[in-house]
């Protein structure tokens, strides 16, 4: 699921109570990790909440709600890790160009892809543009990126073979991509979505 789609989703305990809704996703582009969420109050005119939800306190992310074990999952900004408490805009990866080590531009990051299921993990990027120049979104598995700056992300050349143009087929390509990066066997070809 796109991280941007999580915004406005309710944060619900396993007891069935809605505690908050997602205001923004806090993502560390250097480590390629989802850190947590800032929150809004759960009402039509709800303002910001002081509480934060760190990624490790998430039970599961679903299509309709972010599940937490209990209301103890929300922590005051004063007690949350600084990166989550003070979400720094310069950590934002959106708009950065994705370049392979050999210098091919895959596209520009337009969203972070979050895994559905247990916990809260980032698994890839949505990229648009690139050499084809069109506006169709494509998806790349979150690489063990070589370097990142505010302008660009440099990724291994292998990433290019794992670009898929359909989010539904993307989930399956992530584990294959990771194992391929680690054991060095050549990829069997482009993933079919």
């Amino acid at each position: 699921m796109r991280a941007s789609e999580l915004i406005g989703r309710p944060v619900v305990t396993l007891a069935g109570d809605d505690l908050a809704e997602i205001r923004d996703v806090v993502y560390d582009s250097e480590r390629g990790e989802l850190l947590g969420f800032t929150l809004n109050q759960r009402s039509w005119f709800g303002g910001k909440l002081r509480e934060r939800l760190t990624a490790d306190a998430v039970h599961a992310i679903g299509n309709d709600a972010v599940m937490v074990p209990s209301d103890a999952a929300l922590v005051d900004a004063g007690e949350a890790p600084e990166a989550v408490a003070e979400a720094a805009p310069d950590r934002n990866v959106l708009g950065a160009s994705v370049l392979t080590e050999s210098g091919t531009k895959i596209g520009d990051v337009s969203d972070v892809i979050v895994a559905l299921g247990s916990g809260a993990r980032a698994v890839g990027y949505e990229v648009t543009g690139g050499e084809s120049g069109d506006a169709v979104a494509r998806y790349i598995p979150l690489p063990e990126q070589r370097a990142v700056s505010g302008d660009a992300l440099v990724v291994p050349d292998e990433v290019d073979r794992f670009v898929v143009d359909d989010l539904a087929g993307f989930g399956a390509s992530v584990p294959e991509f990771r194992s391929q990066l680690h054991d060095g066997t050549p990829p069997t070809g482009r993933m079919e979505p």
Binding site: P10, V12, T13, L14, A15, G16, D17, D18, H59, A60, I61, G62, N63, D64, A65, V66, M67, L116, G117, S118
Partner: protein, 146 residues
Amino acid sequence: MSSLRALLRRPVVATDTAEQLGVVEGVVVDPAQRRILAVHLGAKTDTFVSWDDVHSVGSDAVMVSSSAAARAPRGPFEERAAAGVHIAPGKRLLDDGGDELGEVDDVEFDDSTGAVEGLSVGDTTVTSDRLRGVGSYAVVVAREPS
């Protein structure tokens, strides 16, 4: 077996005084025990009757052994019911993975023990062993084993 839909709005009458204590506003379920703990009576005041004090669930009235059985809310589940949190038809049903399954249509339970057997949702039944919570936002059940 009884269903929650049949129970709702039914008068609750004490067998010793023949007094109507109220009507069924809802039931209080402990998700861990998968059992109805009490009946929440509305209409007059927020009073509760322990399921153990329910003498019988008849087709026209719920009979309670004594008028003294009606009491103030007791314990966390009853306090929440008094605040309007019930397992009820129309309540959103969410699995613990954060996916919506629909709305609760009805709740099936055993009259004598108050044991919840299952929740009906459309054409399917969610067995009560999957019940995790009854909250202000949703009834939460464990994800169906795949």
